[in-house]
């Protein structure tokens, strides 16, 4: 998840407009548990990303979202049995333990709502990150008077996600060149992670020191941030705010109805 150079409406928007869009999506997603409304909200975020040419990047997260949804479903089945029983996690025919952990309509509904909520939020956040250069995000956070330590933490977090991916790939290549076999079975797979994880952690820690020093030396605590590029809001932002307004209006109308 990192900025990609591309021409599209999201890339042309002022970073503050995009940040407001993300905040609005997060608030709207949190304020309702209605799966239909959450599905519409997710669909609208995806549609907006598609118009901006970012749909393919967002859809890359689908495997992760499926894992997240499955985990949430198991969690809600275990802790929130409510409503009509649709089946059992352990089939009733299984001796002794059969019939425990009922899958209820309430648990499924809650899991679905939470999954859609996360999907809408992740899609919106990803659209922001891949269409906005990190320095512009830093500028906006400064503008909003976010304390510099939090801004820099956010910057480092953004930097570390792709960096870890890259380092992981490089380490994986180095081990594959030694005929590395990721292992079989749950224990084997976990043990098989050692040749990847150990260098990944050690190397990342050593890079973190240099990264922190570089941020300091480039004057990120100077408080004199002025963007080199012109970041004045334009027509795209007016359209963006109109869309955000329509989204809020539609949402409130559906709530009233």
């Amino acid at each position: 998840m990192q900025y990609v150079t591309r021409e599209g409406i999201f890339h042309r928007l002022h970073p503050l407009t995009k940040l407001i869009f993300v905040i609005v999506v997060v608030i709207l997603a949190v304020l309702t548990s209605d799966t239909a409304m959450l599905a519409v909200l997710t669909g609208l975020v995806l549609a907006a990303a598609a118009v901006a040419g970012l749909a393919r990047d967002l859809l890359r997260q689908v495997p992760l979202l499926i894992v997240l949804a499955a985990s949430l479903l198991i969690l809600t089945i275990l802790i929130s049995p409510d409503g009509v029983t649709l089946g059992y996690l352990v089939p009733a025919a299984v001796p002794v333990v059969g019939g425990i952990f009922p899958i209820t309509a309430g648990a499924v509904d809650l899991a679905l709502a939470m999954s859609l909520r996360f999907t809408a939020m992740i899609f919106a956040f990803q659209a922001l990150v891949i269409s906005t250069q990190p320095r512009d995000l830093v500028y906006v956070m400064d503008y909003l008077r976010v304390p510099v330590d939090y801004t820099l933490m956010f910057l480092i977090a953004l930097r570390f996600i792709p960096s870890l991916q890259l380092e992981g790939r490089r380490i994986s290549e180095a081990q594959l060149a030694r005929a590395y076999n990721p292992g079989r079975g749950p224990v084997g797979k976990i043990r098989g992670l050692v040749p990847i994880l150990v260098p990944l952690i050690v190397n990342s820690l050593s890079k973190a020191t240099v990264l922190g020093l570089t941020i300091d030396l480039r004057g990120y605590r100077s408080g004199m941030r002025t963007p080199m590029r012109n970041l004045t809001p334009g027509r795209a932002d007016i359209i963006g705010f109109c869309c955000i307004g329509l989204l809020i209006t539609g949402y409130l109308a559906l709530l009233v109805l």
């Binding site: 150079t5 320095r135 060149a177 005929a179 570089t214 030396l217 100077s222 941030r225 002025t226 012109n230």
Partner: protein, 499 residues
């Protein structure tokens, strides 16, 4: 302190936290405005520690025990409000270029420091374009830093620091990964800056270009200055002793690698554009070229880490476009540029055993581990934690990990980066012995002197293609720029008989 000194170290000693021995001992150094001081010495001599001390990083960020005084522009480093304050006067380029690249495009990276100086937009643009042109990275402005080659990353890191416009520059091995052309560009740039009054402290093992511009060259060993105003001959350079033994005539006639029309696209960038190359068994082939010319991409095709977009790759009778990497690893050993990408085991012996276990599970042969360690001169370090080894020893361990698996082809990506002359010589001697034992060696390097000394054949790459023509090491050193045009250079894809 001399009145004109802008960077001054007086009786500086430093011991890292948790260490019993000082990394620096009684260093005295005064650097005048506009002076270029080059510090060199063997691996582990304390060169990087000296950079960290002079820039105030040891005091403000590392802890440990610092004795003596360090002054920047006449003001003690203890009186500066942390590294953010020192950063206004001193620009630092660390030896790990990649760790200094924070942003998502090169343009953003170089502009990032400029945007924190309170400059007008016009002044920012002026400085930005000047630095981009001076460091030769204007064409990389829209590229993501993580997609660049090692040398390109290093140039971006230098540019981002130069853009800050500080009066003092401290550079830790700034040209270690640069090709000859880029090294010359950076060297000339530093000379120009010094003429404008910028003070430069450089730590480097590659003396040839930098010694030309340095006002003083200082040799340090064991954390102490052992010689001031040294000449190149004090350190020597890895040279004639590298010439490996001649393989038998029979061994140089069998093709072991055959590449035809190899094209590879990576994230929309054509990294290889129709490469044809044949390598015969028993050769030492050096692949050279400017940073980003496709050298590493090419050798990753030999063991299936990358698959071609188009073209064919045959290695030791296997189709490397489809054979599993685990199978190809038995035939081609690839030693990566940074040995730290692979070291994970508790001991040196376990590290070497890892690959053997992978290709022959449950039938680990301790003699093979010992033989590989013996080959690289690390048998006495068998029980040591791998990351406690020096950089040169870790590089040799990486070679041992690969040769223990007995591949017929051994490919090495920049095997001497970050190594001193002695360590480079040891690596080259090891490669010579491996060739004598029947291995084919492919070596990616931007160090023209190194490849002239040890390779049978030199293949130059440029913009994802092999430069046509022919060249053998006997034809003498390449032009300093190393931009050997087809008409001027004589490169070959044919084998010469080593003499």
């Amino acid at each position: 302190m001399a009145p004109e000194a802008v960077l001054s170290l007086k009786g500086v000693s430093y011991t890292y936290p948790g260490s019993e021995f000082p990394a620096l001992s009684q260093i005295d150094l005064n650097i005048r405005r506009g002076e270029i001081v080059l510090v060199t010495g063997p691996a582990g001599a304390g060169k990087t520690t000296l950079c960290l001390a002079a820039s105030g990083i040891l005091y403000h960020d590392y802890g440990g025990t610092l004795k003596g005084s360090i002054a920047i522009l006449g003001k003690d480093i203890r009186d500066y409000p942390g590294m953010a304050g020192i950063g206004r006067e001193v620009g630092v380029v660390f030896d790990d270029a990649e760790a200094q690249l924070i942003f998502s495009t090169v343009e953003e990276e170089v502009a990032s420091g400029l945007e924190n100086l309170g400059l007008s937009r016009d002044e920012m643009y002026r400085r930005f374009h000047t630095v981009m042109e001076a460091t030769g990275i204007s064409d990389l402005a829209d590229r993501a830093p993580h997609t660049l080659s090692g040398g390109q990353k290093q140039r971006v890191a230098i540019a981002a620091t130069l853009a800050l416009g500080t009066g003092i520059l401290i550079l830790d091995e700034p040209t270690a990964e640069l090709d000859a052309a880029a090294t010359a560009t950076i060297t000339d740039l530093l000379l120009r800056l010094s003429e404008e009054g910028v003070t430069v402290l450089i730590v480097e093992q590659k003396l040839n270009d930098l010694a030309r511009i340095a006002g003083r060259t200082i040799l340090i060993e064991g954390g102490a200055v052992v010689k001031k105003r040294i000449t190149k001959t004090v350190l020597g350079r890895p040279g004639d002793s590298f010439r490996p033994p001649v393989p038998s005539q029979e061994s140089v006639t069998t093709p072991i690698i055959s590449i035809r029309g190899l094209t590879h696209h990576y994230e929309g960038v054509a990294a290889l554009k129709g490469v044809d190359l044949e390598i015969t068994s028993g050769e030492i082939v050096a692949i050279i070229g400017e940073n980003g010319s496709g050298k590493t991409t090419l050798i990753k095709h030999l063991n299936g880490l990358l698959r071609p977009t188009e073209g064919s790759v045959l290695v030791d009778g296997l189709d490397a476009t489809s054979a599993p990497t685990a199978e190809l690893a038995r035939h081609v050993g690839l030693v990566f540029q940074n040995p730290d990408t692979m070291l994970f085991a508790e001991t040196v012996g376990d590290e070497v055993a890892f690959g053997l276990e992978n290709i022959d599970p449950g039938r680990l042969c301790a003699e093979k581990v010992d033989a590989a360690l013996q080959e690289v001169g690390l048998l006495h370090r068998k029980a040591v934690y791998p990351r406690a080894l020096s950089r040169g020893e870790r590089q040799r361990l990486a070679v041992a990990c690969v040769i223990a698996m007995k591949p017929r082809v051994i490919a090495l990506d920049e095997p001497t980066t970050g190594l001193d002359a002695q360590e480079s010589a040891e690596i080259m001697e090891t490669l010579g012995r491996l060739r004598r034992d029947g291995h084919t060696i492919i070596m990616v390097s931007h160090d023209m002197h190194l490849v002239e000394d040890c390779a049978d054949r030199i293949v130059e790459m440029k913009d994802g293609r092999i430069v046509p023509g022919k060249r053998t090491p006997e034809e003498g050193p390449c032009p300093r720029s190393c931009s050997m045009s087809p008409g001027r250079a004589s490169f070959t894809a044919s084998t010469r008989s080593p003499n």
